[in-house]
Amino acid sequence: MKFGVVVSEGPYTHQASDTAYHFVTAALAAGHEVPRVFFYHDGVNVGTRLSIPPQDERNIQEQWTALAKEHGTDLVICIAAAQRRGLLDKNEAERQGKDADNIAEGFRISGLGQLIEMGIDADRLMTFGD
């Protein structure tokens, strides 16, 4: 079965991105497909490579990056939500005249259409948020 997953709350403040990660991991372990995870609202903050959680805590971004690497899951950050919150990839930083970018490996920035597409394509859609 194909699952689509939306993460709509930021990391560390809210458990949503952790629950989503455990759900996706369990789904993949059970032989299901999770072709894409879409990050929206404050969920886009999961995709910054500049977060430095204390060493004895889980690193949420690195967990997702590793998952994407292993399973080819497409981690999409909503561009409109990302721009509001200061998440930029290299192209966007250049286009907007900003002096830095901060998207982590395995994540990419794209439009809300990717969320709708995921809803059309998936057998089940799960939203983890606040």
Binding site: A16, T19, F23, A26, R124, G129
Partner: protein
């Protein structure tokens, strides 16, 4: 054509659980996750309301969230099922759709 509902808020904080139960249909499952697990406890001011609205639905609770919060399974209302993350995935797959009450 059943729905898996998830609720991730304590019913003492928001109306999400009561609203969810008010819209769930016979045959649906309501899975309590994150702070939602507090809604599955027996002997609270909301136990009767939850049990009353939830009569026709299966109430389930995510065990890792229960454990994290130090809630013993013996404190759950009668009839509440516990599942792990694999069980959560199974519930999502075995229902026709999911609705997440945020």
């Amino acid at each position: 054509m059943a729905t898996l509902h998830t609720v991730n808020k304590s019913p003492f904080e928001t109306q999400a659980l009561l609203s969810c139960l008010g819209h769930a249909k016979a045959g649906d499952t309501v899975l309590l996750i994150e702070d939602g697990v507090y809604g599955a406890a027996g002997g609270t001011a909301l136990t009767d309301a939850v049990a009353g609205l939830g009569g026709a639905v299966t109430l389930a609770v995510l065990a890792p969230d229960l454990k994290a919060r130090g809630i013993d399974e013996g404190r759950l209302m009668d009839g509440v099922k516990t599942v792990d993350y694999a069980g959560f995935v199974e519930l999502a797959a075995s229902h026709d759709r999911t609705q997440n009450w945020l």
